[in-house]
Amino acid sequence: MRLQRERGRVLDDSELREFVRDDYPRLVNAVAMVTGSFASAEDAVQEALARAWIKSERGETIASLPDWVAVVAFNLSRSRWRRVLAERRATALLPGRAPQMPSEDFVDVTRALAILPRRQREVAVMRYLLEMSTREVAQATGVGEGTVKNSLSKARAALAKQLDVVDEEVADDAEGR
């Protein structure tokens, strides 16, 4: 990801605002595509940001804030209990706020992702939506690059099939035969 800053100090207000403006929507979408719920995605990303803030207040270093927040948010979103609570809170707020209605494209992509195992879903979203390199995904998820490539390859094939994305190289080879 683009933001690569060494931090060993307290996150200031302007940095936080910049992060919320530039990276927050993308991270919420990424987590929502994995979990299928915007309420729990927002809750997880906000919680991850709050933890990053507390961590920076203690003087601990976060090499890349978006990567760190993405991984923590993905981990937090695994908790079913947390998801249920977040959705309940969001429902309670509904009278004052317009509900987040997913677009048709979002529903299609989420449905295609839903058939993948959790690890492949996360890797695919990190790679295609958060635009992280294979190495960054490996570092963020704590697995080897080979494992990430393997997961990505399987996810890619399954998503291409589900979303009717034609792999032109394969199609050309087939026509040439």
Partner: protein, 129 residues
């Protein structure tokens, strides 16, 4: 990057929703404060648990090992005989050794039973038990 990767990248990005960010900073601040409070409560709770376990353990051990339980010995089955003291070398069969038996009475004067010295009466060797 292969075409399919480009296409998947495009599809996922176009599927992204507009996210409102006006309430986010307040939400983060609230979660941060809650996290701080939770951590403080956790620290105090841990201290209370450790202290309670220490005091509780001490009390339990003190109760288990305290020495104020009265031990009542059973009375002897037979009455003790009089105390016999051999003065001198018992191996020496000569006339120098003597045996004494407790009389239970003070040697002189009178005092309450169980206090003061007790008189001894000399026995001949043949009287010794």
């Amino acid at each position: 990057m292969p075409k399919v990767d480009d296409e998947l990248n495009r599809r996922l990005r176009s599927a992204s929703q507009q996210i409102r960010t006006d309430h986010v900073l307040a939400g983060i601040d609230q979660k941060r404060r809650r996290g701080e409070i939770r951590r403080r409560i956790g620290a105090v709770g841990l201290a209370v648990v450790v202290l309670g376990a220490t005091v509780g353990g001490f009390l339990v051990l003190q109760r288990a090992f305290r020495g104020d339980d009265e031990f009542v010995a059973e009375p002897p089955a037979i009455q003790n005989g009089p105390l016999v003291v051999v003065v001198g070398d018992p191996a020496d069969r000569g006339s120098t050794s003597s045996s004494y038996r407790s009389t239970g009475r003070p040697p002189y004067g009178s005092h309450r039973p169980g206090t003061g010295s007790t008189g001894l009466r000399a026995l001949r060797r043949t009287d010794a038990p």
